[in-house]
Symmetry: C2
Subunit: 302 residues, 2 copies
Amino acid sequence: MERSLIQAIAAALPAGGTRIVRGVGDDAAVVRAGGPLCVTSVDAIVEGVHFRLDDGSSSPADVGWRALAGALSDLAAMGAKPGEAYIALGVSHDVGEEQALELMHGALELAGVTGTVLAGGDVVKAPVLTACVTVVGWADSEGELVGRDGAQVGDLVGVTGRLGGRPSRPIPRLNEGRALARAGAHAMIDLSDGLATDARHIGESSQVCLQVELEKLPLDAGVPSSEQAATVGEDYELCFCIAPAERTRVEDALRTINAPTVSAPPTAEVTWIGRVLAGAPGVSLLDASGNEQRLEGFEHRW
Amino acid sequence: MERSLIQAIAAALPAGGTRIVRGVGDDAAVVRAGGPLCVTSVDAIVEGVHFRLDDGSSSPADVGWRALAGALSDLAAMGAKPGEAYIALGVSHDVGEEQALELMHGALELAGVTGTVLAGGDVVKAPVLTACVTVVGWADSEGELVGRDGAQVGDLVGVTGRLGGRPSRPIPRLNEGRALARAGAHAMIDLSDGLATDARHIGESSQVCLQVELEKLPLDAGVPSSEQAATVGEDYELCFCIAPAERTRVEDALRTINAPTVSAPPTAEVTWIGRVLAGAPGVSLLDASGNEQRLEGFEHRW
């Protein structure tokens, strides 16, 4: 979706008042609920736009899994504990109900793996199969959470896992996100639109430049180039910025996490891919010769 | 949407654990957030299914208003305080962005009227204009909230406002819902699918029979029959059950509410339309001759 619409919507929103700790512009909204903080994110996926069922690349259950994974990944990027999920299904008249139910079963599989409770939703008719997933996560205090806006000049830039593979059943890095928050990450985002775009979001929000060396990107099996790994998106790995002094602490923390082993995903080790500089806010992607590359991922969220 | 799919989805859900106070089967889910309770509902509306833009009956801003109204109405039916809203927009390629932005402005108007904060969302491409609205409301304790399952034999059945008019900018009865909860309502639901269907939901959830006299239904201007008022839906008025001893307390409470006066909606007075009996769980709709009528509203939520 074009950025102009997203920016126009964001500009139309009034200030949120004192209950809103973080509003539009981060991975999830954070609302003060009295004591704990309520962390909420919404993700919609649409047949023919985000997935196809007619080419055999995904089953309806895969789609349900991915819809929930995309929303939970936003909670992971905040360092929040997963809580509840709500799924609004748009079901087309002809293909229909069996697919919708399979989709729900795929979502329920991931809900079980991650300890998320599916607590409600809506079912409506729609031209194509559509799923809108709202997830609510929790944190005991604001200090437990990590936004996009805290990266500091001198930080290291790291990513979890391997990029570019676009797995049909991605594992949202919830445990890794909380571990990185505890380890002192200054800024964090999940790679839904591709590193080129998502790292830029951190840079722009933090008013710093994330300099990334493309040859250091950890490529998933079968991914032919760093350029592809930086732009494909839907990895749902985490990109984060942290002080160099915490490097060992991060590596130790991620090594001890028992990542969910459904479909035997790669262990979410950490790879250090760059550093945070002063300069034009955004991202600077350097190839092996030190030349800056202009790459864009797919972008549709606000 | 057919009930079989909704029932199949509900049957697939595992038990929610101790944090879930109310899950699928009420107007909204209720989750324990430490101290306060988090009350969440999701409503999706789709062009060509729930609204049309090509016949001049609704503007995009009206659609945005109604999308948010439908979700907030679920909070009203629980007796919850409105909190935050999250809107996932599906925007079609050709008609596009201007309409989507107008839709957001309509939602923001109602957000302002009701004190709801729009805190986030998503924007994706879709075949037709689609809005999925998640609203989060709050309550300090479970005793503040009213479900569908508490109606008792001997209760009076009441409704707010006037039915059947299907206003283009309905006002969710948030203040009325909280007043009715405070007055001791045993069960409550908002009229999204039509009284015939929604009152049945209370009867089935409470394992009682709501006997409604159709001639007592308060018809909105221009509505030709009680049958139409009972089946049209999207009134977003409240139907509730309460002990006869609280009748005056309810009438006094609703008279003192200053309902929002955007588009000068009718004051949400109360009309007593029936009573709660033992017998086959559901609803019994009696015409002026005392004969039972079989009527069904439009049903699509779970």
